[in-house]
C-alpha cells in the first residue's frame, strides 16, 4: 500500500469528492437554530407534578391543563459514558411540565429540533425522547440505564412509533414508492398464499417475535439493568403524542402512576426522573443521544 492507487484509477480528486458526500453520522455541527415554538422556561433542579382535574389517560399536547405546570428547563449533555456517542451535544435544553390526575401522570417535553425525522428507510433515524424512572424510589439506581439487580423503567417515545400508531406500520410500497416488487413468497395477488407462519418465515424479526418488528403504540416500555441490557416489555397503557412545529417538538408521554412490577409514583410522594433525547436528523439512535446526567428529584402533589 505505497500509494492510494484507486484514486488514480478513478480519475482523481474530483470524482473522489463527488462520492464522499458526508453520510449519516457525519453531519458535523450541532443545530443551533432558534425554536420559536419553545415555551419560555426557567432552569430547574427539581420537578413538581401538579394535580389537575382531568382525564390524563390519553396524551394531549394542547390541553389547557398544561397551564397548571410552570415550564422548567434542564440542560442535557452528549451521552458521555459509552461509545458510540455524539461528538457534540445536539439537544442542549429540554423543557419540562408534569401533571397528574391521581391515576395517570403526564409529562410534556419540549426541545428544539430543526427537522422532523420519522425514520423508515435505510440510514434514516427517528426523533425520540425517553423518560426513565427508578424501580426503587428510596435508593436510586445508577442513572445511566440502571445497574445489575437495580432496574430502571423507561418510557420511550419515537416519532416513528407515533407514525405507526396514527397511520399504521408503513409497508414497503410507502417507504419506497418507486421500487418495483414482483411478489413475496407465500403472498400472491391472485392465488391463495401460505399460512401466517409460512409467510412470517421470510421476516426473521417478525418470526422470532422481536417487538421492533411489529406495529407500535407511540411508546415502548423498557426495563434496563445497565448498559446493553435494555429490553422492551409488555406495556401498561402508557401512551404518547408529539407535535413538531416551527423547529421544535412538544411531546406528551402519559403513564399509569402505579405499575405493578415497575416504577410507581404516589400522590404526595417523591421519586426521581431522568431524560434522553435523540435527533434523528443527526443520525442519533441508541447510545448516540443527549441526556440528563442526574436523577431529577420529582415531587408529586397530593
Amino acid at each position: 500500500m505505497k500509494s492510494p492507487h484507486i484514486y488514480r484509477l478513478l480519475g482523481g480528486a474530483a470524482l473522489v469528492s463527488l462520492l464522499s458526500t458526508p453520510g449519516c453520522g457525519d453531519k458535523g455541527t450541532a443545530p443551533t437554530a432558534a425554536a420559536p415554538g419553545l415555551p419560555a422556561a426557567e432552569p430547574i433542579s427539581e420537578l413538581t407534578v401538579a394535580r389537575v382535574d382531568a382525564d390524563l389517560s390519553k396524551p394531549d399536547p394542547d390541553a389547557s391543563y398544561w397551564r397548571s405546570s410552570a415550564p422548567g428547563a434542564i440542560t442535557l449533555i452528549a451521552q458521555p459514558m459509552i461509545a458510540p456517542r455524539p461528538a457534540l451535544v445536539t439537544t442542549e435544553k429540554l423543557i419540562l411540565q408534569a401533571v397528574h390526575d391521581g391515576k395517570h401522570v403526564a409529562f410534556r417535553l419540549s426541545w428544539a429540533d430543526p427537522e422532523m425525522s420519522e425514520a423508515g428507510g435505510l440510514g434514516q433515524y427517528s426523533d425520540a425522547v425517553a423518560l426513565q424512572f427508578p424501580f426503587n424510589n428510596e435508593k436510586l439506581p445508577p442513572v445511566m440505564m440502571g445497574g445489575d439487580g437495580d432496574p430502571v423503567h423507561i418510557f420511550h417515545w419515537r416519532a416513528q412509533y407515533q407514525h405507526d400508531a396514527e397511520h399504521g406500520k408503513p409497508d414497503m410500497a410507502s417507504l419506497y414508492p418507486n421500487a418495483s416488487i414482483d411478489m413475496y413468497a407465500m403472498e400472491f395477488h391472485d392465488a391463495p398464499g401460505g399460512s401466517r407462519d409460512e409467510r412470517e418465515m421470510f421476516n426473521p424479526g417478525v418470526a422470532l417475535g422481536n417487538p421492533q418488528s411489529f406495529h407500535k403504540t407511540a411508546v415502548d416500555e423498557i426495563v434496563s439493568e445497565g448498559f446493553s441490557t435494555s429490553a422492551v416489555q409488555a406495556g401498561h397503557g402508557s401512551d404518547g403524542r408529539g407535535v413538531w412545529k416551527d423547529g421544535s417538538w412538544s411531546v406528551v408521554v402519559t403513564r399509569a402512576m402505579t405499575i405493578d412490577g415497575g416504577s410507581t409514583l404516589a400522590a404526595g410522594g417523591k421519586s426521581a426522573v431522568s431524560f434522553a433525547v435523540w435527533q434523528g436528523g443527526q443520525a442519533e439512535v441508541g447510545s448516540r443521544k443527549s441526556l440528563y446526567m442526574n436523577w431529577l428529584p420529582l415531587t408529586v402533589a397530593p
Binding site: 492507487h5 428507510g121 433515524y125 413468497a185 424479526g205 422481536n210 439512535v285
Partner: protein, 378 residues
C-alpha cells in the same frame, strides 16, 4: 480495549473484546481467475435467504466488477478514504492503523455510513474496464494486461474480530464458538444500524420492514449438517470452496483451506489492513494491475500470483483444485496419491474422489453399430 493477535497483519491489534478464537473457523476460498460474474451464487443466496419484505435490496452474496463496481456504491473507496494512507513494512508487517485503532474516542470503529441510494446500484460498473482508453491494436498482448478488470464475489467474512460485533451497543451480535459464524440475534437487535455503519465490507444490512439488521448467516443450517453454503455449492464455475481455517500456528497441510492459505500461500484475505481478520480468502487475478491488487490484498499478493502460476507443476495443489466443486460436503481433509485426489470428512470418511487428470478416450467419428456419424458436440 484489549490487545489481540492478528496473524494477517503480523502484529497485535486493539479490539474491544478479548481474543477468543472459535473451535473451528468458517472460511471460503475464491479463485478470482475463474469467476465469470454469472451471479448464480448471488441468486442462490437471494432465493434461499432474502426474498422477504425489507430484503428486496439485500444481496448477502454479491459479485462486483473491480475496480469500478461496488455494492454499496464505492464502499471500499470510501472506507479507504476514511482511513487515509497507511503503509506495510517490506517484510509484510502492517505499520498503519486498523479501523478500531483509528476510531475517534466517540466511536468504536472508524466507519463510513451508507445512505439508502448507495445500496440501489448492486451491479454498477459491471464489465467496465480500467487502465485507460483503447486506441486499437494488441492491448492484451502481455501479462499483466494494461487494460483489466476482475470480478469480486463477496459474502460476510465472518471475521475473527468483527467490526459489527464490536460496534453493537446492545451486544446483539455474537460469534459462534463451534464454527466462528457471526450472527445478529434477531430477538435482541433493535435496528440501531451500528453494525451497518461499522462493517467496512458493508455486509450488515438494515431491514426496514422488520426494523432489525440482518446479514449473511454462513448458511449455518447447512454447515451444521456438514454441507457447504448455498453460494458455494451452486457455483457453476467451481471457483470457491468452504471449509474451516486454522490460524497459522496450528495449520494442517491436509486441511484444504489451510493448504491454500498457509501452506501454498496463494489465497489472501482482502483489505486485511482494516484489521478484522476476515475469513474469506482470494486467489488473486493474475492479469490485474499489481498496485491495485497490493492495495486490496497487501504486499504478499505478488508472491501469491507467482506461486499460483507454478501450480501446474504441483500435483498436490492441482489435485486440491480438482476437488473444489466436486462435492456439496465440507472437506476437512484431502490427499493426492497416484493421480487421484480424495477429500474426507472430519472423521476420515471419504466424501469424494476425483482424477487429477481426466482420461482421454479416442473413437472414430463413424459408429458402425448404429451406422451413424457422431458430431463432436459437447
Amino acid at each position: 480495549m484489549s490487545t489481540v493477535k492478528n496473524w494477517q497483519l503480523g502484529r497485535d491489534i486493539a479490539y474491544p473484546y478479548d481474543e477468543n478464537r472459535p473451535k473451528k473457523q468458517w472460511a471460503i476460498v475464491f479463485d478470482l481467475n475463474k469467476c465469470i460474474a454469472c451471479q448464480t451464487c448471488t441468486l442462490a443466496c437471494k432465493t434461499t435467504w432474502t426474498s422477504g419484505k425489507g430484503q428486496e435490496y439485500m444481496f448477502w452474496n454479491n459479485v462486483e466488477t473491480k475496480p469500478w463496481g461496488g455494492y454499496p456504491l464505492a464502499w471500499d473507496l470510501r472506507v479507504l478514504e476514511k482511513l487515509g494512507r497507511q503503509d506495510w513494512s517490506a517484510n509484510g508487517e502492517y505499520l498503519g492503523k486498523t479501523l478500531v485503532e483509528a476510531a475517534p474516542p466517540s466511536e468504536r470503529v472508524l466507519h463510513w455510513a451508507p445512505e439508502d441510494q448507495d445500496w440501489m446500484y448492486p451491479n454498477i460498473g459491471e464489465d467496465d474496464c480500467a487502465g485507460g482508453t483503447v486506441d486499437g491494436g494488441g492491448h492484451m498482448a502481455q501479462l499483466p494486461h494494461d487494460k483489466w478488470f476482475f470480478y469480486l464475489p463477496r459474502t460476510c467474512a465472518h471475521c475473527t474480530y468483527p467490526a459489527c460485533l464490536a460496534a453493537c451497543p446492545r451486544k446483539a451480535i455474537y460469534k459462534r464458538e463451534e464454527d466462528g459464524i457471526v450472527l445478529i440475534d434477531q430477538t435482541r437487535c433493535k435496528g440501531y444500524g451500528e453494525c451497518v455503519r461499522a462493517c467496512p465490507y458493508k455486509k450488515s444490512m438494515y431491514n426496514p420492514w422488520t426494523r432489525t439488521s440482518e446479514k449473511c448467516i454462513g448458511c449455518y443450517p447447512a454447515v451444521e449438517q456438514g454441507v457447504q453454503p448455498q453460494c458455494v455449492v451452486n457455483c457453476i464455475g467451481k471457483i470457491r470452496v468452504m471449509g474451516f481455517i486454522n490460524p497459522p500456528w496450528s495449520a494442517r497441510a491436509d486441511n484444504p483451506i489451510d493448504y491454500l492459505v498457509h501452506q501454498k500461500q496463494i489465497a489472501l484475505p482482502y483489505y486485511p489492513q482494516l484489521g478484522l481478520e476476515p475469513n474469506i480468502y482470494y486467489i488473486p487475478p493474475v492479469h490485474a494491475d499489481p498496485a491495485y491488487l497490493e492495495q486490496m490484498f497487501g504486499p504478499r499478493v505478488h508472491e501469491a500470483i507467482e506461486r499460483y502460476r507454478a501450480l501446474p507443476q504441483d500435483p498436490v495443489a492441482a489435485g486440491l483444485l480438482c476437488l473444489i466443486g466436486s462435492t456439496d460436503r465440507i472437506l476437512h481433509r484431502f490427499k493426492v496419491e497416484r493421480g487421484i485426489a480424495t477429500g474426507s470428512d472430519a472423521d476420515g470418511t471419504e466424501l469424494v474422489s476425483v482424477p487429477v487428470t481426466e482420461s482421454i478416450f479416442e473413437r472414430s467419428a463413424f459408429d458402425a453399430n448404429l451406422g451413424v456419424v457422431r458430431n463432436n458436440t459437447p
